[in-house]
Amino acid sequence: MRLYPHLALVKDVPMTNPARPPLLEVKNVCASLGGADVLRNVNFSVAAGERLGIVGESGCGKTVMGLSILGLASSAFHLRGEIVFEGRNLLDLPAKAMRHVRGREISMIFQEPMVTLDPVFTIGEQICETLRTHFKLARKEAREQAIDALAQVGIPAPAERVDDYPHQLSGGMRQRAMIAIALACKPKLIIADEPTTALDVTVQAQITNLLVELSEKHGTALLFITHDLGVVAETCDRLITMYAGQVVENAGIDDFLARPLHPYSSGLLRSLPRMSKRKTALPSIPGRVPTVAEMPAGCRFEPRCSLAQAPCKAEQSLLPAGEARKVACCRYDELMLPGVLN
């Protein structure tokens, strides 16, 4: 028996800033694997030039979501719903048309630059490959543009580095080269999946600064997938929290940090070691993310939630909670959850 039948009836209203029409709209996307939903009714949108973060523990479906947008998720996943990019549903797009979107209009930066760069081609050749796939360019022109792209991402002496192989560059420089490839065709949206996780803090600061700067300069929207809430706070305008394949909260970054509405969001924020909380016990979230085979029927976070009550046994959908905010928790109104400030 559903205790809150009305919850299921309220349609999700995609949240967009009227001034900025959505560039990408993800509508009720489900991805199933062997009958179980890895992604379940995922809804969010990214406006042109907006920087949206996706956070959550490993196994929450962040990467699958990112890959699904570009049609790169494993074919074992059965995708339903709509991913609308500038009026076209990417899930219906034929493979050939999708190739014109991938790399040209939406591009991706991965976590491990050493794994994603091809070791037998120079950095320049890899940038030229992307450019010449999408534009009619002579080799020489493509090479010049590749050097420009390397200069843009702050690689010193780009005219020489363009002929380097990936192994000749340091980790930070490789990640810059990846960004250069992603930016080469001036896409409207960049999906960055943990782009700084493998880097030192000092280099991470350089890379996040660079991404923000380039996004502002070219008006490129950014979908930033990360588990690091500090990185999200410094790069993004808003963020969505994902848990077990569902979006549980969608909020502006400052609101989220000061007053998270979902118990999972609050748990993530409180478990961060902070310099101001030295030598005290950190509140951790007990248990772990359920695997596909063990997804709870109701609220997926309920088994780990210390605030769960009877209504939480029902499935929760993402509902508006105040202005420009959404949450998937039936108790959000009565709970005053701590954020980073308390």
Binding site: E57, D200, T202, V203, Q204, H227, A258, P273, L282, S284
Partner: protein, 345 residues
């Protein structure tokens, strides 16, 4: 009363030969420090700074090229084979990748019992009982004790590694990036566990980490390492609130803070470039090539690693100046204290 140091490191150098003859990687290049019993020292720095090599030397896994590591006054590298084996029980290491550190063909109970089997001093039933007890102590339910590593989550596996390191009742645990591979929610639980077992077993920790928030959370003391040398060392609060080396300031400033925009610092110090090669480190002060405060003298003479205040060590020509600036700021009031991090700009 001052307790005698449990670990005493003196002018330690560890160099590795490279393929090209005559050139060496100076992984650790002249480090001197002591660790007091039952305290936690964190060693922070970028990759390639020599943190892990230093950690391995502390548990006798890497032989010093020069200098000494003393454990309770004895030099373990002068012990005979069997004496060294017995000695190693007291100095254990936990690694970053919890999965790679466990044998996939042993149940976790067997993995935890293995050190006791090797020691072989007590009957098997007692060894089993001890292993069960330790696994429960680190929060692994008895139903999981007969499982294999691949059946556990990352956090559970790291708990098993902790239990295994505890079987020989060590005095010192060197933890090399032990929470780096874990999610924050899981990381919090593991950090709490480390704090609990330190209290119960009176352990001394050396935490090697690149995560400043983790270091600040658990440590009594923090040492900052750059290209094989310590550039700053002191009490955790002191290093964090008034860093006296430009490199420490840059590291603290680069740390992304999950704070609303109004509370975040906008003038971050972003270091240019990356760590130079430890084969040919810059002459004089090794940080001068990236230092926002560098002057002509920084490339001419190397600053001494000197004690500015009791327990506060810094290797920078301008440390005294920075200490004065910090003092003025502190008097000016707490509101301005937040601006200190920018003082070196």
């Amino acid at each position: 009363m001052i307790a005698a140091p449990l670990v005493s490191v003196d002018k330690l150098k560890i160099h590795f030969p490279t393929k090209r003859r005559g050139r060496t990687v100076k992984a650790v290049d002249g480090v001197t420090f002591d660790i007091e019993p039952s305290t936690t020292l964190s060693i922070i720095g970028e990759s390639g700074s020599g943190k892990s090599t230093l950690g391995r030397a502390l548990v006798c896994l890497t032989r010093p090229t020069e200098g000494t590591v003393l454990h309770d006054g004895t030099d373990p590298f002068r012990l005979g084979r069997s004496a060294l084996r017995r000695h190693r029980r007291d100095y254990q290491l936990i690694f970053q990748d919890p999965h790679a550190a466990l044998d996939p063909r042993m149940t976790i109970l067997e993995s935890v019992r293995e050190p006791l089997d090797i020691v072989g001093e007590i009957p098997k039933a007692d060894r089993n009982a001890q292993a069960h007890g330790l696994l429960e102590r680190v929060g692994i339910a008895p139903a999981l004790h007969e499982r294999y590593p691949h059946q556990l989550s990352g956090g559970q596996k790291q708990r098993v590694n902790i239990a295994r390191a505890l079987t020989t009742r060590p005095k010192v645990l060197v933890c090399d990036e032990v929470v780096a591979a874990l999610d924050v929610s899981v990381q919090a639980g593991i950090l709490n566990l480390f704090a609990d077992i330190q209290r119960d077993f009176g352990l001394t920790y050396v935490f090697i980490t690149h995560d400043l928030a983790v270091a600040a959370h658990i440590s009594d003391e923090i040492a900052v390492m750059y290209l094989g040398q310590f550039v700053e060392k002191g009490l955790a609060e002191a290093v964090q609130e008034t860093p006296l080396h430009p490199y420490t300031r840059a590291l603290l400033s680069a740390e992304p803070e999950p704070l609303p925009s109004a509370m975040r610092e906008n003038n971050r110090i972003v270091l240019k470039g990356e760590v130079p090669s430890p084969i040919t480190p810059p002459a004089a002060c090794r940080f001068h090539t990236r230092c926002p405060r560098a002057q002509a003298r920084c490339s001419k003479d190397a600053p001494d690693f000197r004690q500015l205040r009791p327990g506060r060590w810094v290797a920078c020509h301008f440390a005294e100046e920075m200490l004065e600036e910090a003092g003025e700021k502190a008097q000016a009031g707490p509101a301005e204290r937040a601006g200190q991090r920018q003082a070196c700009e």
